[in-house]
């Protein structure tokens, strides 16, 4: 360290240089530019994904929703649907993209249902890599998936085989945040049991879900620990306003009572939302520094042939070998 000529205490003092103002300069530029964030939601039909997204961001994801019947679903493969919305709050602009995956887990045989999703994620990496390596890099759009909410059914006893396979296939490509949906079908005890089972199974299978970074010195360590301890978040979504004690709140009205979305004693909705918005920066960083860099180095190490060609080559080689043996 260099000793300053005149040790400074106050910004007006003789020793003040002024580069402590840099974060403000960065702030100003960031606010002008705005932010981008892509969130993917994956889970079987009917787990409340769309309702939860609408609750989180106060949006209207499917204004005229058409829900296909079972017979139609037989023929359906997994679709990828991306929707964008611009949200502005206190001068900060966010361009949020929600990537929905209708059809996931619907088919009788769900063997390949996450291949489409993997391809989508890889394609965004591929596109970014291509743009980043190009000549004109002034306006690269970042459509890489920064976070994936994976919806676990509250009706089972833990993870289903499909859940395990999906998370194992994707934990090296995207930040996975497991979410237990429709948590109002469980009592608090059942919820705890389910959470514990899910965590055990995640650890058993070596699945790497998104880890919250350690709290900074000025952050509430206890709050962070509480948040960590609640994963997977058990949430309820709703966009219906119900009057409770004279106030209008979002909730679900049952004969036996009202489930309040934003009541921390009823579910983890607030925790999930807080976690997401206070970690957008970190989620982007981990996507860039870990998942994207992995993709990039794998991609560049290969002989340079596009992925499909290589797979076809392997198949052809295998076939040749089989023919030789016969």
């Amino acid at each position: 360290y260099i000793q300053p000529l005149f040790p400074c205490q106050f910004s007006d003092s003789a020793g003040y240089v002024g580069f402590a103002n840099l974060p403000n300069q960065v702030h100003r530029k960031s606010v002008k530019k705005g932010f981008e964030f892509t969130l993917m939601v994956v889970g079987e039909s009917g787990l409340g994904k769309s309702t939860l997204i609408n609750s989180l961001f106060l949006t209207d994801l499917y204004p005229e929703r058409y829900i296909p019947g079972a017979a139609e679903k037989i023929e359906r493969t997994v679709q990828i649907e991306a929707s964008t919305v611009e949200i502005e709050e206190r001068g900060v602009k966010l361009r949020l993209t929600v990537v929905d995956t209708p059809g996931y887990g619907d088919a009788i045989n769900s063997q390949d249902c996450f291949k489409t999703i993997i391809h989508y994620i890889d394609n965004q990496f591929e596109r970014y890599l291509h743009d980043e390596s190009g000549l004109n890099r002034r306006h690269i759009i970042d459509n890489r998936v920064h976070c994936c909410f994976y919806f676990i059914s509250p009706f089972g006893h833990g993870l289903k085989p499909l859940d395990v396979e999906f998370m194992k296939a994707l934990h090296g490509k995207v930040n996975i945040v497991p979410v237990i949906a429709k948590a109002d079908t469980l009592t608090l005890k059942e919820r705890e049991r389910l959470k514990r089972r899910v965590l055990d199974e995640i650890s058993e299978h070596g699945i790497r879900i998104y880890q919250l970074p350690d709290a900074d010195s000025d952050e509430d360590e206890e709050f962070k620990e509480q948040t960590r301890a609640s994963i997977p978040f058990a949430v309820i979504g709703s966009n219906q306003l119900i009057e409770v004690k004279g106030k209008k709140i979002r909730g679900r009205l049952y004969p036996w009572g009202v489930v309040e979305v934003e009541n921390p004693e009823h579910n983890d909705f607030l925790k999930l939302r807080t976690m997401l918005v206070t970690h957008m920066q970190d989620l982007q960083e981990v996507t860039q520094d870990l998942h994207y860099e992995n993709f990039r180095s794998e991609r560049l190490k290969r002989t340079g042939k596009p992925v499909e060609e290589e797979v076809v080559d392997k198949d052809r080689i295998l076939q040749q070998k089989e023919a030789e043996v016969r």
Binding site: Y1, I2, P4, L5, F6, C8, A14, V17, G18, F19, A20, N21, L22, P23, Q25, V26, K29, S30, V31, K32, F35, N54, L56, L58, T59, D60, L61, P63, E81, A82, S83, T84, V85, I87, E89, V92, L94, T97, V98, N123, R127, S133, L135, R137, R138, D216, N239, R250, R273, T278, H279, M280, Q281, D282, R296, S297, L300, G304, P306, E308
Partner: protein, 350 residues
Amino acid sequence: PHAGPLESKNQAAMSEVVPEPRQIPVVPMKPMGINASLLGYIGIDTIIEQMRKKTMKTGFDFNIMVVGQSGLGKSTLVNTLFKSHVSRKSSGWNREEKIPKTVEIKAIGHVIEEGGVKMKLTVIDTPGFGDQINNENCWEPIEKYINEQYEKFLKEEVNIARKKRIPDTRVHCCLYFISPTGHSLRPLDLEFMKHLSKVVNIIPVIAKADTMTLEEKTEFKQRVRKELEVNGIEFYPQKEFDEDLEDKTENDKIRQESMPFAVVGSDKEYQVNGKRVLGRKTPWGIIEVENLNHCEFALLRDFVIRTHLQDLKEVTHNIHYETYRAKRLNGNGGLPPMTVETEENHESNL
């Protein structure tokens, strides 16, 4: 997007770098509506805090170069700017040393901290510039140094396994010292700035401004501004990089009225009206460095450090570096080929 003529030439070169992507089906983006009946606060403005924390935690690099004849007060000025002994002359170098026979490039790094923000400051001095009898092409070693830093960064960037934070040694700002002759720019000044304004942010300053009266200063500044304009020299902040009207208004004022800053440097303190100030003591009075009535040092300091520090870095990264990179990827475009070091553990795609 379809490739234009320039781009398609590079697609061939690019295919060794990144293989052509197969046909990626474009997923169309639907616009999502906002549910107006639901009022509430989501909390996305906290992302600003997150960025601020990140900036404070990681600290930042800033590299400033000083160019000008011997004796124009470059080292003193840099020390004054950063209120620390950061220049070459303060780091154990002999004040009486001889003028070097060629232009030398001397980079000295320091870490200084203020208000929780850590800055790794590198001051790049260029002794010997303009001091020879024959100063032809004396800017070449400087241009070479600047390009070498771009090359270093580029090599790191195309590495297969690359560092999370690429160390940034690129020159963000070049202070060019104009001698206070009171007449006009010298031919060397014009030649240097013409060549270098294309590769680096140049901020011209009038050195040792305490040798001019206020009227002489105003006249000289006007003349210098005119000469720079007539010769097409784009100094920082460059007109073409103003991002929006707000920037343009602010920068127009700086370009047309304040620059070039007429400065005085000092690392000595004196007592004036009960306050300790940085200054130069003469029989006819004390020149207060930070007094705007005496000289424009405070304007320079505020400009470089307090308001445009981040922008200097961004223009270097987004404009100058990208220009260099595009030339390199285009197969040398006029640059002599760089010798590529072969290191065993240095896999790259160039």
